[in-house]
Amino acid sequence: MPKMSFENHIMKQFDEELEEIRTQLMEMGGKVEQQLKNAIKAVIKADSSLAEDVIREERLVDEMEVDIDEACILIIARRQPAASDLRFIMMVTKAVNDLERIGDEAKKIANHAIILSEQDSLSQGYKEVRHLGSSVSTMLANALDAFARFDVEAAMSTLEEDAQIDLDYKTALRELVTYMMEDPRSISRAINILWVVRSLERIGDHAKNLCEQIVYVVKGKDIRHQK
């Protein structure tokens, strides 16, 4: 199995272009990770100014997506990448899409954080957000880490975390329904929390996609949609 590396192209410029794309993708990943953390914090601390930062900075994530996509298109047009280079470029174009969607979800969470911060300060639902938020953040961090090292084993074990996140999401939904049944005044608030946990669950799915792409780029195996 050829090792993943961007080095030793006869055209050194190609090495640099691939390395540059990888760096940009890691930066985007880092930015998105931070956005997610801040959005969760904004909900838990009812910090509307932090939430506004998240909403404002989503634009930066979008710009990174466009820049990286453009770099990939240029490489395809100019270098006609093959084998691992081709798989890497294809992976990047998909990964930026997932990262951008994670950024979108973080923005949605931030929007709900603002609404929640304006409502009365009942604490129902925070526990669910904190718990799910922490597992989703960890999963995303692990996925990005696996990508940084092209580590298939780490990617495989990280993508299994998604099943637990889906279970936790269902549990959170049940609890939120219970709150609503117990006290109809909590309905509006619970619905906002519900949107937040829904976004967190979606982020877990995107992190899973990232892991599948890592397996594809290193092993050339498409493991999507396998039970």
Binding site: N8, H9, F14, Q80, A82, A83, L86
Partner: protein, 283 residues
């Protein structure tokens, strides 16, 4: 020599070493109903061994591309298939090369007939210094494929049509073939090869002297010809191999390193030397 170059040299000599250690060809070399079978083929130029123990099948109606760095033996191997190497002083071929189960190197075999069954197209278009018509008609005449002028006319038109050249030259069949453009000359040479109804067509870098448009026409033609012929093409252009072939064979220092379906070779090659070559890491 710069440090980088020294490092490159080291990397390459390390790769060479690895080839020596890896004896077996990676991938699916053999097929169920082969048109041609090659077993343990060795080719020598004097003392120097150019091809080391290559075994591979060529399936009926497939297009197989042979790629690899300069000097890897891909052209030598191609030329061994229809005994073009016979004319090279000091060249010796060992092993079995069979066409429909018959050894092409057997003593009493008529080489001229062999080359009619296994035709060849070269890098530089090489039409005879004769008319377009005569270029095509020459082969069928000497092989006795046409008894009458009408037969001959039919063969000439049919071959030119199959080579996608008829419409361009039908008004000037009796002008010299050498007056055509490079791309047209190459299609003329393909028409000439087709005219004797070969079963296999060998192409040795057929597009490397052509512009991209003429190249695209030849590639289109290869696709069409594969309906009726078995084609083996040696090419320096990896993109060309990716575009036209069903299987790709990668040669390195006289050894057959990997043979696999083309879509696999260009997305997920099995051998690291193939990977290094097609990603442009050495050449």
């Amino acid at each position: 020599m710069s440090e980088a170059k020294v490092a490159d040299k080291k990397a390459i000599s390390k790769q060479n070493l690895e080839v020596d250690q890896q004896q077996e060809t990676v991938g699916d070399r053999f097929c169920k109903n082969p048109k041609m079978t090659m077993r343990n083929v060795n080719v020598f130029y004097g003392e120097k061994q150019a091809i080391h123990d290559v075994s591979i099948d060529i399936a009926k109606n497939e297009v197989i591309a042979m790629i690899g760095p300069s000097g890897c033996g891909k052209s030598t191997f191609l030329r061994a298939i229809n005994r073009m190497n016979d004319t090279v002083e000091g060249c010796r071929v060992e092993g079995d090369i069979k066409l429909d189960g018959d050894n092409v190197y057997q003593k009493n075999l008529d080489v001229v007939e062999l080359r009619a069954r296994v035709g060849m197209v070269f890098q530089k278009p090489n039409p005879f210094p004769k008319s377009i018509f005569e270029n095509i008609a020459y082969g069928p005449k000497i092989h006795g494929l046409a008894d009458t002028r009408v037969d001959l006319d039919e063969i000439v038109e049919g071959s030119l049509r199959k080579a996608g050249l008829w419409e361009e030259v039908k008004e000037r069949l009796h002008q010299p073939g050498t007056g055509l453009s490079g791309g047209q000359q190459q299609r003329l040479c393909i028409a000439r090869a087709i005219a004797v109804s070969p079963e296999v067509i060998l192409m040795d870098e057929p597009c490397s002297a052509l512009d991209p448009i003429a190249t695209a026409r030849i590639e289109e033609l290869i696709e069409e010809l594969s309906q009726n012929f078995t084609i083996a093409i040696v090419t320096h252009s990896m993109q060309q191999a990716a575009r036209v072939s069903n299987r790709t064979a990668y040669f390195h220092l006289g050894k057959l390193i990997e043979v696999n379906p083309t879509e696999q070779v260009f997305t997920m090659p099995k051998h690291k030397l193939t990977e290094a070559y097609i990603t442009g890491r050495f050449g």
